[in-house]
């Protein structure tokens, strides 16, 4: 420390040095970050366990060490060191080193049709997630639930954010999808008594699983009619109450249906919702919703939200628009519900209550209305936070709402609201700007 006088100049110099250090990273394409992350997760796979033991941790900290830190604060420096050595430094170095390479590859990928470029990026993303999750079953579970949360949040954002109706029926749609898909898979492949027909050979199962999920989604869409039709004549608070009523109707319906074992719940779903399956469905969901909300038909949702009378006068069929928003949102909620049932391999009506509603709503409003980015950020951060703060038990439910309140004060529409997800812009290479170096 160079004494009091030198401090200002020092910190100024330090800041500019930091800026210089950071500067190359503005030219990293998404592909470059993926390379860096892949290096980090591979390193963890190879050297994670010895390093963790060397640092006095029993095993690799599963979720960036949050639970270790909260249970045993003495280990906080060790966990931070671990995270830096495994994730921070390798990602930073690898990303920095392969900027030209990544830009080159991204540029040549960019010459292919967008579908190919996107598929290549997604494959790499999947590889990262796969290697990261393989360390423990817990990670796989958390990852799958997080991806399902992304689907739920995004599909709710279609209704609450893009169309601006406060719908509370999402867990209801999810329940319809979950139960429909479960009844089909259990009835057809596991337990012949449920549907009263012969079990199909289990080998067929994975092929018919998408069919079951889609049917679950369609049933949820059908249920959404009961909210969509009232929405023609009423909106705002009244529609919110109607949708809440729908949620309770679905819940008590399932509770009283002995066919699906009422409040005891359905168990024994086959284990078909593995990580690749959930990942694929999530990609499909994000992709189709993003396509939809960016098309002119999808922009009609925003017009109905901002001024319905003007939308009508500008030839927009507002009833069709509302119907599409509810049915499309409910479809993906239903699919997410089906996946949820097969990840947990047990569902009961209690899964789909007010608590679940509050979580999904929190994810939507935390992440940001009217934004695909926002939904992804909201769903991932709230679900990971929920898992990471689990050791705090009851205090978790004080910290997360507090965080939500803070976000609402400083960014009333959520973290990343009203932003389009432009895939081409996201994946494009970022070569050196002209006139520099």
């Amino acid at each position: 420390m160079g004494g009091e006088r030198g401090n200002g100049a020092n910190s100024e110099r330090g800041r500019s040095r930091f800026r210089n250090l950071w500067k190359p990273y503005s030219r990293v394409p998404l592909l470059g970050w993926f390379f860096g992350a892949l290096v980090a997760v591979t390193l963890e796979r190879l050297a994670g366990t010895p390093l963790a033991q060397f640092l006095g941790l029993q095993k690799i900290p599963v979720l960036f060490g949050f639970s270790v830190m909260l249970k045993n604060p003495v280990l906080i420096p060790n966990v931070i060191l671990y995270t830096l050595i495994i994730y921070g430094v390798p990602t930073a170095v690898a990303t920095r080193l392969c900027i030209p390479l990544a830009n080159g590859i991204a540029a040549s990928l960019f010459r292919f049709p967008m579908a190919v470029t996107a598929a290549a990026h997604l494959a790499l993303l999947y590889a990262i997630l796969h290697v990261w999750a393989e360390i423990s079953d817990y990670r796989v579970l958390v990852l799958r639930l997080t991806l399902i949360a992304v689907m739920l949040t995004l599909s709710l954002n279609v209704i609450n954010g893009y169309m601006g109706e406060f719908s509370c029926s999402h867990p209801g749609f999810m329940a319809l999808g979950a139960y429909c898909a479960s009844v089909l898979t259990i009835g057809l492949f596991v337990n012949a008594q449920l549907l009263g027909t012969a079990s199909l050979p289990a080998a067929l199962g994975p092929f018919l699983f998408p069919v079951a999920l889609i049917l679950g989604g369609l049933v949820a869409s059908f249920g959404a009619l009961f909210v969509a039709i009232p929405s023609f004549r009423t909106r705002g608070d009244y529609l919110a109450i109607i949708s809440l009523a729908f949620l309770f109707i679905v819940k008590s319906l399932i509770e009283n249906l002995e066919f699906v074992r009422g409040p005891r719940g359905l168990s024994g779903q086959p284990d078909w919702a593995d990580l690749p399956t959930v990942f694929l469905w999530t990609v499909l969901c994000v992709w189709s919703i993003n396509n939809f909300v960016r098309s002119t038909i999808g922009k009609a949702l925003n017009a109905v939200r901002d001024n319905e009378m003007a939308a009508d006068a500008m030839t927009v069929d507002t009833r069709r628009t509302k119907m599409v928003a509810f049915l499309f949102g409910a479809f993906w909620a239903g699919v997410a519900g089906g996946l949820f049932a097969h990840v947990m391999r047990y569902v009961n009506p209690g899964n789909f209550g007010i608590q679940n509603l509050a979580e999904v709503l929190a994810m939507v409003y935390f992440g940001g209305l009217n934004s695909v980015y926002g939904s992804i950020v909201g769903a991932v951060s709230i679900s990971l936070l929920g898992e990471a703060l689990r050791p705090l038990e009851i205090f978790k439910w004080i910290i997360i709402p507090l965080l939500l309140i803070l976000v609402m004060i400083f960014r009333p529409t959520g973290l990343i609201a009203f932003r389009d997800l432009d895939v081409a812009n996201l994946l494009k290479p970022k070569p050196k700007p002209d006139g520099e170096g």
């Binding site: 189709s288 098309s295 922009k299 001024n307 006068a313 500008m314 927009v316 499309f328």
Partner: protein
Amino acid sequence: MTSPFLQVRNMSHDFGGLRAVRDYNLEIGSGQIRGLIGPNGAGKTTVFNLITGIYKPGHGEIFLDGRKIDGLPPHRIASLGVSRTFQNLLLWRHMTVIEHVKLAHYSKIRYGLFAAFIGTPGHNREEAEIEEKAVRLLDMMGIRHLADQVVLNLPYGAQRRVEMARALATEPRILLLDEPTAGMNPEELVQIMEIIRRAHKELGLAILLIEHRMKVVMELCERIQTLDFGAVIAEGTPEEIQNNPRVIDAYLGKERAI
């Protein structure tokens, strides 16, 4: 002469006990500019709302090109070629300028929902066409440089132009303008009148204009109707209207003998 393009026959409408429009008749041939004037609360905007289907008339009939349109939902009427602007600017506040104009092509969209979900090549091609048309309209309105701005941040005059561009983007055959110059300064006034003239000439639109500024009405309109308490009290050319004692009474009040 052929039958008028837009014809309103004996239209009346009540709000509760208040008769807002009384036995209103209107005939506009294609390509004509008509004015609708009258003191505040005379029922001018109600006439617009009745023609565009926001209210259903209690009595009377409305024909567009010989086809009965009263009772159709507003978006159907709009897609048949009746477009409008609003007195108090009903824009979609979170949307950008170009999105406003693109969305007004809604009824012309040929691709289906699933094409939008999947983003088929046909969908992309059509979106590109819509974009091109929208940019052309923005050019005509002189607001192309604002295309990616959210309308909430625009000055008032520009918002008026966005609304006009949006109304034209529905490819109307008749345009109902509800006080298009309200709140504009003299310079903007000249520009908007020029735009109305161009829309009339280049696109061959019939125009029905509600306006308080006499200068605008007198310069633009071929014939003018005057409404007072929901009823037409005078109809004629600008000169006739200007000198009509009933119109002067309606605006300035009756001269009383002391």
